[in-house]
């Protein structure tokens, strides 16, 4: 656990030592703010709950997108820069390296996401805010983002090019988001399987509406574990090539 935390802390701190982290943060916060003003708050009077639903729906899209770019360099950049031997020759297990890197990226993502909390609070100017709804919305958004980070960590472990890592992550993530559409076009039991595997639709909608279901938490947690396990196996297999 100590090694995981050490690696996570270094990863988190490295974001603030490079312009890349600030650019990602500025674009994310700028676009979320602009979108909130134009799309969520625009279009006449709305109930507070509807504003929150709209906000989390939009926020989830931006968060998935930014997660792809936060995760692209996690392992690929280490290989590109030749720094990976520093970790791979240290007395730590490969899963500790992968988990530490993921955790560092997750902390940055959580910080970014929570930096938007002033937006739902603006609803207080003209209405009331259900704090449970806000909590559920952020929990869902962060879990969704973590899932994409997990996919991104796996994508990043497959290549030493960050650009290629982005395409691999999108290649896995986009179909997983669109599984809900596939679920509508096929018969049982495939429709249920695809609907369940859809990254966003079924599992995020409850969080967006202010509800927390254990099954959705388990789903996102499983996605993270599955892809971190795959990234670990990829890292291990490289030692044998």
């Amino acid at each position: 656990m100590k090694s995981i935390w050490l690696i996570a802390r270094r990863e988190f701190a490295s974001v603030f030592r490079s312009p890349q982290g600030y650019i990602i943060a500025a674009l994310y916060l700028g676009l979320v703010g602009l979108d909130y003003n134009l799309r969520v708050l625009g279009g006449g009077e709305k109930f507070s709950a509807d504003i929150l639903k709209g906000f989390f729906q939009e926020l989830s899209g931006f968060t998935m997108f930014v997660s792809v770019f936060i995760s692209m360099g996690l392992i690929a950049k280490e290989r590109e820069n030749g720094t990976i031997p520093l970790l791979l020759t240290s007395p730590v297990k490969d899963y500790q390296i992968v988990t530490g890197k993921f955790l560092g990226a997750f902390l940055f993502l959580a910080l970014l996401t929570l930096a938007t909390v002033y937006m739902p609070m603006l609803v207080l100017v003209n209405g009331k805010v259900a704090w449970g709804h806000v909590f559920a919305g952020y929990l869902g958004t962060i879990l969704l983002g973590a899932s994409v980070l997990g996919i991104g960590t796996f994508g990043s472990s497959l290549t030493k090019s960050q650009i290629v890592a982005v395409f691999i992550t999108l290649g896995i993530g986009v179909p997983m988001v669109l599984f809900w559409m596939l679920g509508r076009t096929v018969d049982r039991p495939l429709n249920e399987i695809f609907s369940y595997l859809a990254l966003h639709n079924l599992h995020f909608s409850a969080f967006r509406d202010g509800q927390i279901h254990l099954r959705d938490i388990v789903f996102y947690f499983s996605v993270v574990v599955f892809f971190l396990f795959s990234a670990t196996r990829t890292l291990e297999s490289r030692r044998w090539r």
């Binding site: 820069n81 720094t83 007395p91 030692r239 090539r241």
Partner: protein, 313 residues
């Protein structure tokens, strides 16, 4: 300290390490010598658990690198040809991170970092960002990260590659100063560097170890004929009378003649130094010097790699 048995490493169809066997004792300083692509870096990566062998066995400190990689990794310091450093970090912070990652107790981290910084003469750049350092300094930081946890085994892949002459001298001194504290395994394709720094040399070519020993041992083991050089106060005819007809003398020639002193180079099929000394003295010649001529390491290396290539083809 290190035992390798029948070690093989394949990269797909390519055999990078081909049935290598060697032993390295604790405290030794071993040089891996070979041309580019000989398999030196692959072998060092296997020793540092960065790569796993395709077959065969390597033990470091009695533990198998395949079965107990964490145990082995805790006992090695590894510097690849390009130092693996996070450019955005400061020197001191990086060493602190590496020390903790490699299991140095929190109470000892400060002391270990300080020791590595002093050892590698990094005091003046300890608060400097690594990406702003010269290549020479980055190599030093690379050494510092390899020794910060005080590993018994230090593995340095081409430690002087890319350095200017002044930096090479500094690096050589730094490596020499570490002998005795660590078992050292370093690679280079520069013959002089290896012979000046190491106790013993393993010569690699096409994934195999084709020679092992000290520089002198390697030179001697290569000599099909023994070469002697003799200085005498004599004439060419007197030398001819002594040498001609001796079965062990395969070839001889006068290399120099100056004011009655003659220098003769003799090739022999066996060690006949004692016999020749007696013969020259019995012939009433003044024997001024008689000794064996060693091939220089360069010659030995070229012979080894040349012979090996011929054998392969």
């Amino acid at each position: 300290m290190i035992i390798a048995k029948d070690l093989i490493k394949n990269y797909g169809e390519l055999r990078a390490i081909d049935g290598v066997n060697f032993e390295i004792a604790e405290g030794e300083c071993i040089g891996l010598l070979g041309l580019n692509g000989a398999g030196k870096s692959t072998l060092l990566r296997i020793l540092s658990c960065l790569l796993m062998p395709t077959s065969g066995k390597v033990t470091v400190g009695s533990q198998d690198v395949t079965h107990s990689p964490e145990f082995v990794r805790a006992r090695i310091g590894y510097l690849p040809e390009d130092p693996p450093l996070y450019g955005e970090m400061k020197v001191g912070k990086l060493l602190d991170f590496v020390a903790r990652l490699r299991g140095v107790p929190a109470t000892d981290v400060g002391g270990r970092v300080q020791h590595a910084v002093e050892r590698c003469q990094l005091t003046e750049v300890i608060d400097q960002q690594i990406e702003t350092l010269s290549y020479g300094y980055r190599k030093r930081v690379g050494i510092a990260q390899a020794i910060v946890h005080d590993p018994p085994l230090l593995i340095l892949d081409e430690p002087i590659a890319g350095l200017d002459p002044a930096q090479i001298v500094e690096m050589r001194e730094m490596i020499r100063s570490m002998r005795g504290e660590h078992t050292l395994v370093l690679s280079s394709h520069i013959l002089g560097e290896i012979s000046q720094t190491c106790d013993r040399i393993l010569v690699m070519h096409q994934g195999k170890i084709i020679g092992a020993g000290t520089e002198e041992e390697l030179s001697l083991s290569l000599a099909k004929d023994q070469r002697l050089q003799v200085r005498l106060r004599a004439s060419a005819d007197q030398v001819k009378q002594v040498l001609d007809g001796r079965a062990a003398v395969t070839e001889w020639k006068i290399a120099a003649q100056d004011e009655g002193v003659i220098t003769v180079k003799i090739n022999t099929s066996e060690d006949v130094r004692a016999e020749l000394s007696r013969a020259f003295v019995q012939a009433d010649l003044d024997l001024l010097a008689l000794g064996r001529v060693h091939d220089r390491l360069e010659t030995a290396f070229l012979k080894l790699t040349g012979d090996s290539t011929e054998a392969a083809s």
